[in-house]
Amino acid sequence: MAKFLLIFCSVLGSLFAIEMLNPVQQAVIQPFTVLLANISTAVIVPFDDTVIAQGRILRDATTGFAVSIEAGCNGVEAAIVLIAGIVAFPASVQHKVIAILAGFVFVQALNIVRIISLFYLGQWNYTVFEWFHLYLWPVLIMLDVLVVFAIYLQWLGKRHPEAQPT
């Protein structure tokens, strides 16, 4: 447990520090955030063709309402927590890589739901938008991370049922 905590905190702190570096922001985080805006728009457009993506901004061409995907809203922090947990837990490198990739997709899938929901909540009611944006969605994303990690543990366990203690 102590080893897990030590590795978890070290990886978490390191990845956070790396994420904040300007070159990483320019080369990875910003383009990734723009990609998220584009994917969100691509998901919305079949149902609502008035939505356009401008960089990391989602805009309704008719009403002019827009949301900008900022730091903390791109799901990178949640992904970092998940990666730290997976790296800290003893498993083979192959399993860790599979879990990180699948977990990242899972977290980002919910994050796209968050972005789209906030885009429409903001147009409907700003108070509700603020509630979901500031308080509810961060909790749901962290629960998502927890679910993914729990599934990962069960998946690892099921691959080696003979190792189950008697």
């Binding site: 927590v81 003893p90 500031l134």
Partner: protein, 200 residues
């Protein structure tokens, strides 16, 4: 099965705990604001003059003021810049923690909640201090950064990210896992962990 029950119950309980948290107003934020006040007065008395709680907002009177559109020391400016911080940005961690804990139906649940609450108030105090530092960085800039004992801007940004964007959701999870020990859910989780780690 127990884990699935935990997550479903947490989701069901969240509207209740968030409702109580919202209705309680400043009750859950006040101790964190007092701790933040003590922290800022002890370490940065030359930056923060006083801290108070008004409704859900934490006010902080700084030692900086405006003179001809320039930020200078409050003594020279004759006025003081005031920070206005929404305490709910960090206090929602209590509602999340309560939902996690109630969903687990642990023995001595109320006692464990009280212990967790004290830990969260400490985490929240650091979160509020980080927001104050970020606001000072944005509003005051260079005079703030050149003051004694103020960390570099990059470290302040990192601290803000960590204490405000991450800790309100990560701290309740860590506390909950720590307090799970000995419960049926912990045994189920430990069994998964034993099986999973046995392969390495």
């Amino acid at each position: 099965m127990l884990m699935r029950r935990q997550f479903v119950l947490t989701l069901i309980l969240m509207p209740i705990t968030f409702g109580i948290w919202y209705a309680a107003g400043a009750l859950f934020s006040a101790p964190a604001v007092w701790l933040c006040d003590a922290l800022l007065q002890a370490v940065y008395p030359h930056l923060i003059d006083s801290v108070w709680l008004q409704g859900m907002k934490m006010g902080a009177l700084t030692q900086f003021g405006m003179l001809e559109e320039e930020v200078v020391a409050a003594s020279a400016a004759g006025n003081q810049i005031e920070l206005d911080i929404n305490t709910r940005l960090v206090s929602y961690s209590i509602a999340f923690y309560a939902a996690l804990l109630m969903a687990s139906n642990l023995q001595n649940g109320f006692y464990k909640f009280c212990i967790g609450l004290f830990c969260l108030w400490l985490v929240m105090a650091f979160g509020l201090a980080s927001i104050a530092a970020k606001d000072l960085l944005v509003m005051v800039g260079a005079p703030f950064l050149s003051a004694p004992r103020v960390p570099p801007a990059d470290l302040l940004a990192l601290t803000y990210q960590f204490n405000v964007l991450l800790m309100p959701t990560l701290a309740p999870v860590c506390l909950w896992v720590w307090q799970l020990r000995g419960s049926p859910l912990w045994e189920a989780l430990a069994s998964d962990i034993r099986r999973a780690s046995a392969q390495v």
